[in-house]
Subunit: 294 residues, 2 copies
């Protein structure tokens, strides 16, 4: 199967699973379920679930729980976007080309929809069938620590907010992105490994792959914010510079940032040696992350 076919088929599988795992709009109280679904089905690329599934596939076929773990990651990612977009935080009106959750449902419902997606992610993990309890505990462990304040997503977000008042050093830049986007991307691949029962070597290789791919992802994100139009991105372009955000192009320049993304991609490929042909999709995803246009 070609990569594009694989991605389309996985996105459809993830969407179907999210549909099944999220309370329907008819479920009381309807408003919160509408708000959750609005943001969950706003056209995300499902990179985290696909990394999770591909991480599992690097070790075994038909791994139970990998799809559900991927959906939990997407719920956490979506909750973080809803809260980041709030007026008190980044104050963004558009996301993925659509009005943000609080623009449609109001701030109160957007705050609660974010909270509810976090909750749903945890409900999803503990409801996985056919996975031994120790692995479910390991999944909740990975997801909750990668979303947390110490070297995790919330910590990165706080450092980012506070970084706007500080000089843009390479150390600060790496500190932010390692935590803000890196932790969840790394957890995505690792959680696939947990579902598949990765041994120590395999888990370390997946972590390392996630580390490099996560960094490449963020560098490219920053480059796209400079180079692409708002229309192509589906969100306000050039916003990083306007807000004084610390970015890779701002610290290293555009050309050096592009070279860094390529280097992270090369390192990501290297980490996959232990998996041989089973890692085909992980190789392709690394290339895709560096060459994407939105």
């Amino acid at each position: 199967m070609l990569l594009q076919e694989f991605l389309a088929s996985e996105q459809a599988r993830v969407d179907a699973a999210l549909e099944r795992l999220t309370p329907p709009e008819s479920q009381h109280p309807a408003t919160i379920h509408r708000a959750m679904r609005y943001s969950l089905f706003a056209g995300g690329k499902r990179i985290r679930p696909i990394l999770c599934v591909a991480g599992a596939a690097a070790i075994a076929d038909h791994v139970p729980g990998a799809l559900e773990a991927g959906c939990a990651l997407e719920m956490i990612h979506t909750y973080s976007l809803i809260h980041d977009d709030l007026p008190a935080l980044d104050n963004d009106d558009f996301r993925r080309g659509k009005p943000t959750c609080h623009k449609v449902f109001g701030e109160a419902m957007a705050i609660l929809a974010g909270d509810a997606l976090f909750t749903l992610a945890m409900q999803t993990l503990v409801s996985i069938n056919g996975l031994e309890p120790a692995r479910i505990v390991a999944l909740v462990h990975e997801l909750s620590f990668s979303a947390g304040t110490v070297d995790g997503m919330i910590g990165g977000q706080v450092t980012d907010i506070e970084g706007e008042k500080q000089p843009p050093t390479p150390e600060l830049l790496h500190l932010i992105h390692h935590a803000k986007t890196g932790a969840l991307l790394r957890a995505s691949v690792r959680m696939g490994g947990v579902c598949a029962g990765a041994n120590t070597t395999q888990a370390a290789a997946l972590s390392s792959y996630g580390e490099h791919v996560g960094l490449a992802f963020q560098i490219v994100d920053d480059i796209l914010d400079v180079e692409e139009s708002s229309e192509a991105l589906g969100k306000t372009a050039g916003k990083d510079a306007a807000q004084g955000k610390i970015t890779f192009p701002a610290v290293y320049g555009l050309d050096a940032s592009k070279a860094m993304a390529q280097e992270q991609c090369r390192l990501a490929h290297e980490t996959l040696t232990p998996f041989g042909d089973r890692a085909q999709r992980l190789h392709e995803i690394a290339d895709l992350i560096v060459h994407r246009k939105s």
Copy 2:
């Protein structure tokens, strides 16, 4: 040991555990850890942790994980208070006699501190030592579903917000409180039971006790909002009526509400028969909930 001594000693144990389980203010990024600690140590009565510990003690002595599970419940409770107090929701300036989290740290940090306490609750559960994985999964199950949108805390909060526009019927009132405060109080007792390995009969009795005690707690909360001063409550009194919130006194009148609280207390006592003398603290807590003054 007298009840007051028991409560003081348990509150001290819970505070010490929360202190150990929450990242220190010196941990980067400091602001979020300060905000989390500010609200976590703002003088809560620790009713949920104490219910959890007393629920476990009704079954066995020295139950591993009951204290940590109680702390996770307190973290979830505190996160819900921080988010409920936000300007977009209840817009409260005071809580437990102190300025609310967003008044001290700003809205952005309050939103993230709530998110972070949720995350920390899950981290706490999966980090419990000496409890078999299946029981940890059951704890995450209890906590995440009781905090969720379907018959859980967030669902109750949404129904409450939307209820301000609807006629105050008994059905709506019970729907809100069963979910908004009832679910987490019920989960508190049940999670104690999970840690202690409750059998089906014991789990059902604890659920039923939690149900009655939770309802009594909410009725008394509504009565206190009418009868007590803001000073005694540590938050703005009379706010329910001013906001057009649906409450037990508003629907049933004060006297009938008081009788209902007593009746729920009586029913709570009845559920404890299977535990004999082991349930002494649960009996005392039920009485305390009905007779409290703040």
